[in-house]
């Protein structure tokens, strides 16, 4: 998505920025934002014309891919969302009815379906982030700083990706025999005499959904954070220690600021994955929990493409807003 806004900067400059970054976090406070825009202006003014067109040329293939596979489908979806439909056809006529249906009743006191669905989905985003972020950071930190041997580190890192050898659905479904009413956990607890009645909330509940999300998505946190951590110049940590910083201070003032891009990218991954999901919520929530993706899927199944398109546009806007908020907090362009 964001790639579209980036085709301008020439390739070389990104690395220069990275070097400048390395020194910055020695300050307890991040460097003031004005500096990079200044640099940007310089680099915009400096190059000769041929070099500039070369940069465009270099960015062209990616831009073309985005144009064909992202921009055009999105525009089409946007157009279809304004069309009318009936049981078996979509009718090219301009109407806002699909959006009106979507927000039908949202102005009344009782929450409307759409708002309720989004609240439920956002709740899962927040819960999943609250767990995957510390968890992913801890695992990545362990891998990057505590494992000395590069081979072991790579081995453990690959271990983290093993779950990807099977499909999402299989990883999810494997929880069901464990969590069910007569599942392994309930049976064990009952056999130990700890409970009499099985714990119903283990499966087909918010808990089960969050558990599955954590299981499925933590690795998307680990990878970018690990990448950021691995690029930290160890001398910075030594310098901080020499300057008398405690372990906690080093973590908070040196490592964490330098990991911000990784955290931001991981957060974007997890947010978009959870926002768009309907399979996990469906399987682990026993189909009793609404998700935006599920609503869209049902509408597609019933040939209500314009309604589904309107829903997709609203979902896209919601996700973009969330990412926009995130990039307000962390300037990804500068940090990379």
């Amino acid at each position: 998505m964001s790639g579209l806004t980036f085709p301008l900067p020439p390739v070389g400059r990104g690395r220069g920025g990275g070097g400048a970054d390395g020194t910055a976090p020695l300050d307890p406070d991040p460097p003031p934002p004005p500096a990079p825009p200044h640099k940007e202006e310089e680099s915009r003014v400096a190059p000769f014309r041929p070099r500039r067109s070369l940069a465009y040329l270099q960015a062209a293939p990616l831009a073309l891919v985005f144009l064909i596979f992202l921009v055009i489908p999105l525009v089409l979806t946007g157009i279809v969302s304004l069309w009318e439909y009936n049981e078996y056809a979509i009718i090219p006529a301009l109407t806002l009815q699909n959006y009106a249906d979507l927000f039908d009743g949202c102005l009344s006191a009782d929450l409307c379906t759409t708002l309720r669905t989004y609240l439920s989905t956002v709740k899962f985003v927040v819960l999943t982030l609250a767990i995957t972020l510390p968890l992913g950071f801890a695992i990545a930190y362990f891998l990057a700083f505590h494992i000395r041997s590069g081979t072991v580190r790579m081995g453990l890192f690959l271990l983290c990706t093993i779950p990807f050898w099977t499909s999402n659905v299989i990883r999810m479904i494997s929880w069901i025999p464990l969590l069910g009413r007569n599942g392994l956990i309930n049976d064990t607890l009952r056999a130990l005499g700890l409970i009499r009645q099985p714990i119903e909330g283990l499966l087909y509940s918010d808990f089960a959904v969050v558990l599955a999300f954590v299981h499925l998505d933590t690795v998307f946190m680990i990878v970018p954070i690990f990448n950021s951590l691995a690029r930290i110049d160890r001398r910075l940590i030594e310098a901080a220690r020499d300057a008398g910083a405690s372990g906690a201070q080093i973590l908070w003032n040196v490592i964490l600021p330098l990991t911000k891009p990784g955290i931001a990218i991981g957060t974007i991954f997890v947010t978009t994955l959870v926002m768009g999901d309907f399979v996990t919520v469906g399987v682990m929530g026993g189909q009793q929990i609404a998700s935006v993706g599920k609503v869209i899927q049902v509408q597609m199944a019933y040939l209500q493409f314009p309604a589904a398109a309107a829903n997709a546009m609203v979902l896209l806007a919601a996700v973009l807003l969330m990412i926009l908020g995130l990039t307000r907090m962390i300037d990804l362009r500068r940090e990379l």
Partner: protein, 418 residues
């Protein structure tokens, strides 16, 4: 030419079935095999049928198995992606207006007049059955080959030739329920709080819900299969209240989900499909397809051909359909607990004790085996719900597409989000 091995095995097979007359098979297509792309659900797409058809007719079936809604979607949006469609009758209300289907010529269907009265007249042995919803009777005939409207009286153009149909009810776990279940309203009984399930396919789920509402005596629908907005609101309200009270353990959407819910004891009562009950039982778990006093919700599907089909492929499609009605396939489906379109021919291909068990509701004289040879019922067992006449005769309504379908789907989403 035609004395190919396939023909010979066929004759041998026919001889083995002793009294079975061979009902005029069409010419074998072995010389130049025709491939038919067969769009449908996994329900009737068995590899055994494909194998047998290859032997008998030399036609190669290329299955395109998708879920019910996807069949409709494909028929409307990609009519050139298949040569033969096996779809639910209620989907016709969506597919036919798209103009993508061609009527089938009754004169070319040899056993057209033998198709059970369930489809042609809405009757079982002369007795009228439930007509609410999209009963196949209402969408069986076309005004003309390429008509986009259904004919109210019999014509020579048929929309779909029935493949399978059945009467659906609730599945229960008798070992965990320990009390008789007689009515649809038991689905929302407080006795089964947190242990009930309904299917999350809006058009079918809402009809199960309507059966419950009607059974509880709160309201009588004009037509459960074609509700007004007020009726949809009323039904969804009942569902939402039940959901908020924690009545449901989960909802299910596909066959296997329903099997797992029931077999693991997560649910003890739920909407279910007949073969799913059989599958739970095959795992050694007691499960009953409980007949209920308000009757069944029925469904039916059948073969249709796209308008673009012509020449050899069209001939092959007719040959295949004729073959399908001629008995072997019907017997195969009957042994799975479905019903076939032409009962007489299926009977000829079943053992008398099989026919007595599946169709007459009599206790099994011998162990009942499925088409794949697995044990389905031990000797002495009877079929849930009894005979064909009892089961299909007690149909209350049919799977349907409502006029207010769009509104209904929106309200259903509200139920899921509640």
């Amino acid at each position: 030419m035609d004395l190919s091995p396939s023909r010979r095995t066929l004759l041998k097979g026919a001889a083995a079935l002793a009294a079975t007359p061979v009902t005029g098979f069409p010419a074998v297509h072995a010389a130049e095999p025709v491939t038919l792309r067969y769009l449908g659900t996994a329900v009737s797409q068995s590899s055994d049928i494909a194998k047998k058809v290859k032997e008998d007719l030399g036609i190669i079936l290329e299955y395109i198995p998708v879920v019910t809604d996807e069949v409709t979607k494909r028929a409307v949006t990609q009519p050139n992606s298949f040569d033969l469609i096996d779809t639910e009758y209620f989907s016709l209300k969506k597919i036919l207006p798209s103009g993508n289907l061609s009527g089938l010529d009754a004169k070319r269907i040899k056993l057209a007049d033998k198709i059970t009265g369930v489809f042609t007249k809405g009757e079982v042995n002369g007795k009228k059955i439930g007509d609410q919803g999209t009963a196949p009777r209402k969408v069986f005939y076309l005004e003309g080959q390429n008509a986009k409207t259904f004919a109210s009286a019999p014509t020579e153009w048929l929309t779909l030739i029935p493949t399978t149909y059945n009467a659906d009810t609730l599945g229960i776990r008798p070992d965990l329920i320990k009390r008789p279940v007689e009515s649809w309203k038991d689905l929302l009984s407080p006795d089964f709080k947190g242990k009930a399930s309904i299917l999350n396919i809006p058009s079918i789920g809402i009809m199960d819900a309507a059966m419950v509402v009607e059974a509880s005596g709160d309201y009588t629908y004009g037509d459960k299969g074609n509700m007004t907005r007020a009726e949809i609101d009323r039904t969804i309200k009942v569902l939402i209240e039940a959901k908020r009270a924690g009545q449901f353990r989960a909802f299910w959407q596909d066959f296997n989900e329903s099997v797992n819910l029931m077999a693991s004891g997560e649910t003890v009562i739920q909407s279910m499909w007949s073969p799913a009950v059989t599958k739970v039982r095959a795992q050694g778990v007691p499960c009953v397809y409980q007949p209920l006093k308000e009757g069944y919700r029925a469904w039916a599907q059948g073969f249709g051909v796209p308008k673009t089909l012509s020449g050899k492929k069209l001939d092959a499609a007719y040959d295949f359909i004729n073959w399908f009605l001629s008995g072997w396939a019907g017997a195969y489906l009957n042994r799975q607990g479905y019903y076939s379109a032409v009962l007489e021919t299926a009977k000829e291909h079943m053992q008398p004790y099989e026919w007595a068990f599946w169709m007459e509701g009599k206790p099994a004289e011998k162990d009942i085996l499925g088409p794949d040879g697995t044990l389905i019922e031990k000797a002495g067992a009877t079929r849930d719900g009894g005979s064909f006449e009892q089961r299909m005769g007690s149909v209350a309504c049919w799977n349907a597409v409502m006029d207010e379908n769009t509104y209904m789907v929106r309200k259903w989403n509200e139920f899921i989000a509640a």
